[in-house]
Symmetry: C2
């Protein structure tokens, strides 16, 4: 028998989708100073939504940051509290309200800031649909479903929703550490819904995340851009230097060339390798998700380990070079190459940054260029691993069986949510990732989507998890 | 004694600057489909200006082209005729009315499409001020000066003004070849004002230009952009492939690595090297122009030859990658790298393209990537060299002495104006480049400028050249 609160969710999907559409409409891009006001607008909208559901909301100011050369105010963190029954468990949930940049010119088929529902496939396209506005609203949907059906809420729910996750969660760590002594002191476990199933069919629980070190490498030469006819062949060109440097970072087959990185990775045991071999995943899943057949390996376990337990290095782009359509004959004066390294135990940003800096400086000096090199370590986060035997995971596993009828895979993930580690360290409680979306959702990419079924069933999953968690003794 | 028409130019500089300001205001960017209407507007404005000076104007339609995936109309070529006295020489002048792309976000200090005159330095900033709207208007100023002072015009002047020079002069060659049998049949010599002095002080005449081969190299992998956390370490990344490929094109010290290119370059003779050694030019000039000390050599002649008589390869940028401020963690799905090679005798686009394609395909196959490579040769033009002993050059040399009081250097240039060669081949007459602007004008770059004195004295130079040319027997 399905309970009333779950039936309410199924019967009210249009209203819940409308809630998501309203959230997607606010272009809360945290990495772009031009959209900073929208991040504030997003936080304000969320505060009202929570208060309408009788959640007590406290807004914490994070001060200022320097962005695109301007001093701008950081958007606030929202702390919510729903229920304070000392007989109930207290679960902390975290999510983020900010999104990655998006523009139709990047290749979106529709306006990224308008939720477009494909009636046939059930796919709901929009920036933030799956990362992470859909999952955040899932928690609100659960509260509303219990209220509308007069169902007793199984736990005390505490919420932490921020607006800077896509830009390194600037300012959040300090606040979480501070609140861990007061507001978050009585939390029994933490649940974060901000990742994805491995493929498109089977749910999973995630007990590990890679960390991140993001670098900006600037090569500067002339004072302003030059005509390649007039100056080509006479000066050292920053672009040439940058291409040579970046070609030394990683091989086309994915091997990181920065000395010392490989040595820091925890060695693979035979037992651990087995976990990847048995995982419910095929190359077809990843090929479907990428829309190509470009995996680095044909071995399923190797591919999964490439995502979950090994570091990787991706070149993202160049700021300052010619980047639009057409054929401009320019020698860019100063170019800023961006790349990042995904980190796994035992690689930390603090250890990686000096290795990268030393290596790039050495390689640059070999180029014999008169241009100037500057290396900046931008945001970063340590990798995280939790214990999947904890009751927090058992509760989520049972909830998954109730909603989806299968035992979820226990996975690690390739992405980075640095605050996961902060919660674990500050609260000393189990932290778990309970994904709502699918592996092909395209978070951070063009045409990001969340399937309607994942939004609706996922909302039920979050609710069932809270009910199951209530059954365990802390 | 300075003649009346020259005095008129000096006395009317405000009106002449205003004419330039009006031309700069029209953003006639030929390489961007969004600005195609502005190219038409620019041609229309120019036609009116010419007709107001009693120049007979004929507009030639060039048909359509494909730009940014759209079918768009090519802007027209304007042919002008001023005077048809069979006793006078007929000089053909050429210039272009289109400009390179420009935006404040590229680093301009002022709106690129508003002419801003610095009263102290006399520098006039604006896209197209020096390349090539200022020089084109110089010819109009000369006609007006003669009319206003009732001075007999020394030659029959024929004009060819196009709007596609910055995008490979698409469609022009065929028209020039066609017109060479009719309208341009009686031309005695050709003068093009679309280049620059070597430095900032001494005028020059130019008898050689480099050609150009522009390439677009596309590497495609996944169907859409991917999250580097979820997919980093699992797939072949197009950016990694592109950086490896482009690092194989040219060394940081400017050596082109494409096999076969070097072998095609005409060998340097001791006598030729001497020409560069005696040229009135110092490293300081180029350092001032680039605002840096980044020359590939400390030897003046080597630097000049790097610009004038050797090929060069410049990497311009990447379309499809992350290119703005901030730190986006994306794996771009398809990236299009742009580079071009400046050509010298005996390198032609037809010979270079197969060498580049073969080499890049070989290097790509060595990468072991599952991504897809596509190489396109975009616009190109052959190099050009003329005879600097022709009366056309002698007339310009005398005119320079009259206006500037010095014998100009005889130079070759690094840039590419493919139509120069077309005129020479189609008309079988001497073609000369007579620059108006300075070496530090920043054509194609941010904060492009033309000095007021170069505009005013340069207008006088164009006029004196016509008077001197009239003195020689064809």
């Amino acid at each position: 028998m399905v309970e009333a609160w779950r039936e309410w969710i199924t019967s009210n999907e249009d209203a819940l989708i409308d809630r998501l559409a309203k959230a997607v409409e606010i272009p809360s891009v945290s990495g772009d100073a031009k959209h900073r006001d929208d991040c504030f607008k997003m936080a304000e909208w969320m505060k009202k939504q929570l208060e309408a559901l009788k959640v007590q909301v406290r807004q914490v100011d994070l001060g200022k940051q320097t962005l695109d050369g301007q001093q701008v105010q950081l958007p606030p963190v929202l702390f919510g509290q729903y229920g304070d029954d000392p007989k109930k468990k207290t679960i902390l949930v975290y999510g983020h309200l900010d999104v990655q940049p998006a523009a139709v010119s990047d290749g979106w088929n529709t306006d990224p800031f308008k939720l477009v529902v494909n009636k046939e496939t059930g796919q709901m396209f929009g920036r933030g649909s799956t990362d992470d506005k859909g999952p955040v609203l899932g928690w609100l949907n659960v509260i509303e479903a219990h209220q509308k059906t007069n169902t007793e809420f199984p736990v005390n729910l505490k919420m932490c929703f921020e607006c800077m996750e896509e830009s390194g969660s600037e300012g959040l760590d300090e606040v979480v550490i501070e609140e861990s002594k007061t507001f978050l002191k009585d939390v029994d476990a933490v649940c974060i819904s901000d990742n994805y199933w491995l493929g498109t069919k089977k749910p999973c629980l995630t007990y590990g995340l890679r960390g991140l070190s993001y670098f900006k490498v600037s090569v500067s030469g002339p004072a302003s851009d030059l005509h390649s006819g007039v100056f080509g062949g006479t000066v050292h060109e920053p672009m040439t230097d940058l291409f040579h440097l970046f070609s030394k970072l990683v091989t086309p087959t994915g091997e990181i060339l920065v000395p010392g990185i490989k040595d820091l990775v925890a060695p693979l045991t035979a037992e651990e390798r087995k976990r990847y071999e048995v995982m419910d995943f095929s190359l077809k899943d990843i090929n479907n998700a990428t829309g190509s057949e470009t995996t680095l390996s044909q071995d399923k376990a190797e591919v999964l380990m490439g995502r979950m337990r090994y570091p990787s290095l991706s070149l993202h782009g160049i700021e300052g070079a010619f980047s639009t359509a057409g054929s401009k004959t320019v020698i860019p004066a100063a170019v800023h190459g961006k790349f990042s390294i995904r980190l796994v135990p035992n690689l930390t940003p603090g250890e990686v940054a000096p290795l990268v800096t030393k290596y790039l400086e050495e390689e640059f000096s070999k180029l014999g260029s008169k241009n100037t090199l500057k290396i900046e370590a931008l945001h970063g986060g340590k990798p995280w691993m939790s214990d999947p035997e904890h009751w927090n995971f058992k509760a989520a596993s049972k909830a998954t069986e109730k909603v989806y009828g299968v035992v979820p895979d226990l996975t690690r993930e390739g992405g980075s949510i640095p605050v996961t580690l902060t919660f674990e360290v500050a609260l000393k409680k189990s932290v778990m990732l309970l994904p709502m979306g699918r592996g092909d959702d395209g978070a951070h990419s063009t045409n990001e989507k969340l399937d309607k079924s994942n939004y609706i069933d996922g909302t039920q999953l979050l609710g069932e998890y809270l009910h199951e968690a209530a059954n365990y003794s802390s």
